[in-house]
C-alpha cells in the first residue's frame, strides 16, 4: 500500500432516499450538495469547486436532459462547467472516475462529482421501460426482456451451473434489509424474514419482489481534491487508491459467460492492482445488489470467494455487519434504495462515512480500507474504486 492516492475525498453528501413526493431531481440534489458543503466549512463552493460531473441515467423520468448546468444553476454555482455522465446504473460511479481524470489531468484542483434520479412519480411499467433502455434494444428489449428479466436469466444459469438456491438469494435481501434498518437515510428501514422474501410475488422467475432493488428517488455527491491539497479542507480525508473500469457486450447473449460479469472482474483486478490490495484485505464493500443474484456474482467477480461459492459465503455469514467483510452496510440498493444515477456516489459516500467513523449504528469498527462496485445495466459497464482512511 505504498502507491500515491489518485484523489482524496474531503466531503460528501446524501439526500434521504425514498419516495420524495413533489420534489424534482435538482431539488433532491441540492439536499445532498448542502450536506457536503456543511460538512466542510473550509470549502467555499463558489471559490473552490472548479467542475461538476453528474450521473443521471434517464431524461425520460422528468423529461429533462442537460443535467450538468441544471444542477449547477440550482446550487447557485453558475457559471461552473458541468457535464452529465451516463453509464446506466453506473452513471455516478463513472462520474467519480471522471472527477479523478479531471484532477489527474492537472486541469482542476477541486471537483464535485455526484448523481441523482427521480423515479417514483412514474408507474412501474414506465420505470420498467425506462430502465430497460440500459440494455440492448434490437434483440433484448424488442423481445420483451426487462431488467429483472436479464438478471433472472443469469440467476437461472447460476442455479443450473452451481446449484445456487433461491433461499441463498433471499439471504442477500434479509442481510441488506437488516443493515438498511440501521441507516436513517435508507428508503426501507424494515427488516424482512427469509419466509417473507421467499413468498413475495414473482417479478421475473426465479426473482421475486424481495430479490429486486427499490425504485427510489435520491441524490449523492462527493467533493474531491488532489491528495496534497486535502489538508486545506479537512482533517479526516479519505483517499481513493485504486480505480478500475471496463466494458462488455451490450447484449448478454453475446457474452462468453452468463454466470458472472466480465466487466466487474476486469474493473476489480485493475483497481486491486493499482491499490496494491488483495480482495480479502478489504474491511468493507458496497457492491451493486440491483438484484440479489448480482450481489452473489459480485462476491465471485471481486474475488471474495471462488466462482459458484457466493451462496455459501452468505450462509457462513462472512458478509454480514459482524462478519469478516461486511457488504452493503448502507442497506445496499436493495434496502437503501436505487435511484439509479445516484447509486455510484452513494456507495462511495457510505464508504466515506465508514472510513471517517461516521456510520452510526452500522459503523464497522476500525475500518481502514473499503471498496465500491457499481454496475451499469446488465453488466455492459462496471466500475470499482478502493479507498483508504487518510
Amino acid at each position: 500500500m505504498t502507491s500515491k492516492p489518485l484523489a482524496t475525498i474531503v466531503s460528501g453528501g446524501l439526500s434521504k432516499f425514498g419516495r420524495l413526493k413533489g420534489k424534482y431531481a435538482r431539488e433532491i440534489f441540492m439536499e445532498a450538495a448542502e450536506e457536503a458543503f456543511n460538512r466542510c466549512l473550509n470549502l467555499d463552493p463558489k471559490r473552490d469547486i472548479e467542475a461538476l460531473f453528474i450521473g443521471l441515467m434517464g431524461e425520460s423520468y422528468e423529461r429533462q436532459a442537460h443535467t450538468g448546468p441544471t444542477m449547477v444553476d440550482w446550487m447557485n454555482l453558475l457559471p461552473l462547467p458541468a457535464a452529465r455522465i451516463e453509464s446506466a446504473c453506473a452513471s455516478s460511479g463513472v462520474a467519480l472516475r471522471y472527477g479523478i481524470y479531471a484532477l489527474l489531468s492537472g486541469m482542476h484542483d477541486v471537483v464535485m462529482v455526484g448523481g441523482a434520479e427521480k423515479m417514483t412519480h412514474r408507474t412501474t411499467p414506465e420505470v420498467t421501460e425506462f430502465l430497460a433502455m440500459g440494455a440492448d434494444f434490437p434483440f433484448e428489449q424488442w423481445n420483451g426482456i426487462t431488467f429483472p428479466g436479464l438478471y433472472a436469466l443469469m440467476a437461472t444459469a447460476h442455479m443450473h451451473r452451481y446449484g445456487t438456491r433461491e433461499e441463498q438469494m433471499a439471504m442477500v435481501a434479509v442481510k441488506n434489509h437488516r443493515n438498511g434498518a440501521l441507516n436513517p437515510k435508507a428508503h426501507m428501514r424494515r427488516e424482512v424474514t427469509l419466509e417473507q422474501a421467499m413468498s413475495s410475488r414473482v417479478i421475473a422467475w426465479p426473482l421475486k419482489l424481495y430479490d429486486c432493488s427499490l425504485i427510489s428517488d435520491g441524490a449523492s455527491c462527493l467533493i474531491l481534491t488532489r491528495p496534497e491539497l486535502a489538508g486545506k479542507f479537512t482533517d479526516t480525508p479519505v483517499h481513493i487508491i485504486g480505480s478500475g473500469q471496463a466494458s462488455d457486450a451490450i447484449g448478454i447473449y453475446e457474452r462468453s459467460s452468463l454466470t458472472n460479469l466480465a466487466a466487474s472482474k476486469k474493473a476489480g483486478r485493475e483497481a486491486y492492482k493499482m491499490a496494491g490490495v488483495k480482495p480479502r484485505e478489504i474491511d468493507l464493500a458496497e457492491v451493486h445488489d440491483c438484484f440479489t443474484i448480482a450481489e452473489i456474482m459480485a462476491y465471485e467477480d471481486l474475488g471474495l470467494c471462488r466462482p459458484g461459492e457466493g451462496g455459501s459465503l452468505l450462509e457462513e455469514g462472512v458478509t454480514t455487519l459482524e462478519g469478516e467483510i461486511p457488504v452493503n452496510t448502507s442497506g445496499g440498493l436493495k434496502a437503501k434504495g436505487h435511484p439509479v444515477g445516484a447509486t455510484g456516489t452513494a456507495q462511495a459516500y457510505e464508504v466515506y462515512l465508514q472510513l471517517t467513523g461516521g456510520a452510526g449504528e452500522r459503523q464497522v469498527k476500525g475500518a481502514e480500507t473499503g471498496l465500491t462496485h457499481n454496475v451499469g445495466g446488465s453488466g455492459a459497464s462496471a466500475v470499482v474504486h478502493i479507498y483508504r482512511r487518510g
Binding site: 412501474t124 411499467p125 414506465e126 420498467t128 421501460e129 430497460a132 434490437p138 434483440f139 433484448e140 428489449q141 424488442w142 423481445n143 420483451g144 426482456i145 426487462t146 429483472p148 428479466g149 433472472a152 436469466l153 443469469m154 440467476a155 437461472t156 444459469a157 443450473h160 410475488r201 414473482v202 417479478i203 421475473a204 422467475w205 426465479p206 426473482l207 447484449g251 448478454i252 447473449y253 453475446e254 452468463l258
Partner: protein
C-alpha cells in the same frame, strides 16, 4: 451467391430477412466467424469480406425466465417466457418462447425458430422471430 447479398450487414437488414421468415447472419469469408447480430466488420479478424448465410432454425435452450412484470408495450402478454438459445449453427440468440406453458420449459430443451409477421405500428416497425418447441 444467395439472394439478398446486396443488403448491408446491419440489424435493419436482419429484420428485413425476418419479415421473409429467414434467419440470416453475416459470415466472414476470411475466417468463417458467424456474426449475429450482423456487423460490417468481423469481430475476430476485422475482415470486411462478409456474406449473408441462412441459419438452421434450431437450437438448445441455455437459460430462461418468466416475466411477470412487463414493460408497457408487453403488458397484454404477461406472464411470458423469454430465454437465450444456442443455435445449432453456433451463435446465441435471445427471444420469447411461445406455444408452451412456463412450467414445461426446461434448460437444454430443443427449440425451433418461428416468425411473427405482425409489424409494430411505431418505430422500428420490425417483425419478430420467436422460439417454440419442436
Amino acid at each position: 451467391m444467395p439472394e439478398g447479398n446486396a443488403l448491408p450487414f446491419t440489424i435493419e437488414s436482419f429484420y428485413k430477412f425476418v419479415g421473409e421468415r429467414r434467419l440470416m447472419a453475416a459470415k466472414c469469408v476470411e475466417c468463417g466467424t458467424l456474426l449475429l447480430p450482423p456487423r460490417p466488420t468481423c469481430v475476430k479478424c476485422s475482415s470486411k469480406d462478409l456474406r449473408w448465410i441462412e441459419l438452421l432454425k434450431k437450437g438448445r435452450l441455455i437459460t430462461y425466465t418468466v416475466i411477470h412484470t412487463p414493460p408497457v408495450q408487453f403488458q397484454s402478454m404477461a406472464p411470458y417466457v423469454v430465454g437465450i438459445v444456442k443455435l445449432v449453427d453456433g451463435p446465441m440468440l435471445p427471444g420469447m418462447i411461445r406455444n408452451i406453458k412456463p412450467e414445461e420449459v426446461k434448460i437444454d430443451m430443443n427449440l425451433k425458430v418461428d416468425f411473427d409477421a405482425t409489424l409494430s405500428s411505431k418505430w422500428p416497425m420490425w417483425p419478430r422471430y420467436f422460439f417454440r418447441p419442436l
